[in-house]
């Protein structure tokens, strides 16, 4: 068995030194930003806010020159955990900064980097994820959207046809990184896929919102009808899509966004419990104590993973474990709130607690789907343990 390595680690002083700055900025910027909005966590979209973060130098912090200041991943960690704890509206830049930019740095070419990274660092260029398709959810290797090698008017490139779904904020995004089929899967089903950088303003790209069960329009269907991209928009090597997408998913799965997305509700839950008379609060204290123990432990695990990532290691197994535990924790918050306190979620006129509960209770079912379902994550863990 491959041992699971989780050593408790401290955030270095240079990272801790950023915390007060970020808190002061957030106290100022988010004054009056309602709890019901904070409850949206990293689904809250505000392009102006992303630009302000860019102006502070808090996007692409870890990227090397000339793209970024090359600061440590642990400094970035402090910034993003503060943003998440405050329920800041980070969705505009979130995917671009968390995974797309990282992917272009690692596998992309300089043309792609020059096209996208300055805008991401400024908080102005947004990305969506092109993985799932109508017939390919957990079984990502079965994708059918295609890129075919071609020449158009003497320019060598690829013609793309197909559909991607559940593309969060595609309607506001400038680019998609799409996993597409470029060849047959012969020896392994993971063969024959390649990633492309697609400008969503190109002719032939269609974006149609898919209203979710909360009534919100966040995710979309994106269609490609004879969309031409030049050769330079292929990311990495032809046929390396699976390997690259696996690396991209590691960025997507390992951060504190995997256990802090219901934090606004937890704060309100604690606020409510604080008002109870102690003699009647034993059950509520018990619930809060358990949640706090889980949260604190998750943060220790997360900092441990971040420290290893910062040291250049690839703790993929540990990141999967963290996501699985984190999602379970997040989903337990509305469950416990309902069990212990018996307060009904309210949509329009509720208290901060009732309205954040209303949002999280509904939204949380997606937490164990996005970024890989719980069942897939546990399969990944089992593989890491040597069982598959």
């Amino acid at each position: 068995m491959q041992p699971l390595t989780f050593e408790p680690c401290d955030l270095p002083d240079a990272a801790e030194a950023l915390r007060d700055d970020v808190r002061a900025f957030l106290a100022d910027e988010l004054a009056g930003y309602p709890v019901s909005k904070r409850a949206h966590s990293w689904i809250g979209f505000d392009a102006d806010f992303s630009c302000k973060l860019g102006a502070r130098g808090w996007l692409g912090m870890t990227w090397p020159a000339p793209w970024g200041p090359g600061r440590s991943a642990l400094e970035r960690y402090v910034v993003i955990e503060e943003l998440l704890a405050a329920g800041a509206p980070v969705a505009a830049h979130w995917i671009a900064e968390r995974q797309s930019g990282q992917l272009l740095l690692r596998f992309g070419n300089d043309e792609q980097r020059a096209l996208c990274l300055p805008g991401i660092v400024a908080g102005e260029t947004y990305f969506c994820i092109g993985m799932s398709e109508p017939d390919s959810g957990s079984d990502l290797a079965s994708i059918r959207s295609k890129a075919v090698k071609t020449d158009v008017k003497g320019q060598s490139g690829w013609v793309i046809n197909g559909r991607k779904v559940w593309t969060t904020y595609a309607q506001n995004s400038h680019y998609m990184i799409a996993l597409l089929r470029t060849g047959e899967a012969e020896k392994s089903r993971h063969e024959g896929t390649t990633q492309f950088l697609i400008d969503l303003s190109l002719p032939g790209v269609g974006v149609r919102p898919i209203r979710n069960m909360l009534g919100d329009e966040e995710f979309n269907e994106v269609t490609f009808d004879e969309v031409f991209v030049p050769d330079a928009m292929m990311i990495g090597a032809e046929g390396d899509g699976w390997r690259q997408v696996t690396a991209e998913l590691a960025f997507e799965r390992s951060g504190p966004d995997r256990f802090l997305s219901a934090f606004a509700l937890l704060i309100e839950l604690v606020r409510f419990v604080s008002t109870l008379p102690p003699e009647a609060a034993a059950g509520a204290y018990d619930a809060v104590g358990r949640l706090y123990a889980h949260l604190s432990t998750l943060r220790a695990l997360s900092i441990s993973v971040a420290t290893r990532l910062d040291a250049g290691e690839e703790p993929a197994l540990e990141a999967s474990v963290l996501k699985d535990l984190g999602v379970t924790f997040e989903q337990s918050i509305p469950e416990i709130a309902q069990q212990i306190l018996g307060i009904a979620p309210r949509l329009d006129c509720g208290s901060d607690f009732e309205s954040s509960l209303a949002y999280v209770q509904q939204a949380c079912v997606s937490f164990s789907l996005r970024g890989g379902t719980t069942e897939i994550m546990r399969g990944v863990i089992a593989r890491g343990l040597g069982l598959r």
Binding site: V273, A281, Y292, A293
Partner: protein, 322 residues
């Protein structure tokens, strides 16, 4: 890990490999004190890891102690090593001499670990105080927990001088470290077995239903390990370790229940037999989980402290380690 801690880890692993096997556990569980095992531990000074060097101890840190106590849990050592380490630290902190030999500590005089063997028993006296009792001073009523380790009743807690020290908190810390070790061992046994045991023509670990359970178990093991070690770090730093120890006891206790249940499901009937080693671990996990305050006691205490800090201090408190 520091060099010294690596050395301690190697010593303790080698010692248990050489001097602790199923037979030793079974004999101890039948009520016979495992003299040879204890003598080896004492000869290596492992029981005195937290005793200052000027009193003949190692003068180590709680993170050093974590390595030893976790190993004691992993190997289900049927001796009061965790108790002796914890009690030794409390005595030294209170400015008292730490006697040679096994020590015990308790927050419940009806369930004193190894009361008959301990040369001193530290008894919680409330309000952060304890008294020290020698076994000759009281009648002992032999009893055991379901780990079949001695948990004896004593009839007379005495009215001896009170010293300062949190017996229940330190007891909770050492139990957390033991649970972290035992859960890691349970995970390893389960993964190995699931890779070997063949049913329906393939190893049972190839079935998704098994993989899902083992993945859960891996998560519980990871959480338990880091929670216990973080509590040791907190106490080393002289932080108010109540939060960290409460977190450790709550999280390892919850993980213990889940790990025991999953492991028995993985092992099937063979894991329910007397001859199999699994129950040495799981019976102790169920016992340790409840001792020195179960999850409910610690979570009420922690939850109340969090509520009293107030919602707006939730995040600042968390990032400061309390």
């Amino acid at each position: 890990m520091s060099d010294e801690r690596n050395m301690i880890a190697e010593t303790v692993e080698r010692l248990f490999e050489e001097h602790l096997d199923t037979t030793v556990i079974e004999v101890a569980e039948s009520g016979i004190w495992p003299t040879a095992l204890w003598d080896e531990i004492a000869a290596n000074g492992l029981d005195r890891v937290l005793v200052p060097a000027e009193q003949g101890g190692i003068g180590g840190s709680w993170e050093d102690a974590f390595v030893i106590i976790r190993a004691a849990g992993r190997h289900t050592a049927p001796v009061p090593l965790a108790e002796t380490i914890g009690a030794g630290w409390l005595l030294a902190q209170a400015g008292l001499d730490v006697p040679e030999g096994p020590l015990s500590l308790t927050d419940d005089i009806a369930r004193v670990p190894w009361a008959a063997q301990a040369v001193q028993i530290l008894i919680a006296a409330g309000d952060g105080a304890f008294t020290v009792r020698e076994p000759g001073e009281t009648e002992i009523i032999p009893d055991r927990n379901i780990g079949r380790d001695p948990r004896d009743g004593i009839t007379d807690p005495g009215t001896a001088t009170q010293h300062t020290g949190e017996v229940q908190t330190i007891g909770a810390l050492v139990r957390s470290c033991q649970m972290a070790g035992a859960i890691a061992e349970v995970l390893e046994l389960c993964v190995t077995y699931a890779g070997e045991r063949v049913q329906f023509g393939r190893p049972i670990g190839k079935f998704q239903a098994m993989q899902q359970k083992l993945a859960l178990l891996a998560g519980e093991s990871a959480a338990a390990g880091i929670a216990a070690q973080s509590a040791c770090r907190a106490i080393d730093r002289d932080e108010d370790a109540m939060f960290a120890i409460a977190i450790a006891k709550i999280r390892t206790g919850e993980a213990a229940g889940k790990a025991a249940a999953i492991s028995h499901q993985v092992f099937g009937a063979i894991g329910f037999t007397d001859e199999h080693h699994l129950h040495h671990l799981t019976r102790r996990l169920w016992s340790w989980r409840a001792e020195f305050g179960g999850e409910r006691i610690w979570s009420e205490r922690l939850g109340r402290a969090v509520a009293e800090q107030g919602a707006d201090n939730l995040w600042p408190g968390l990032t400061q380690g309390f």
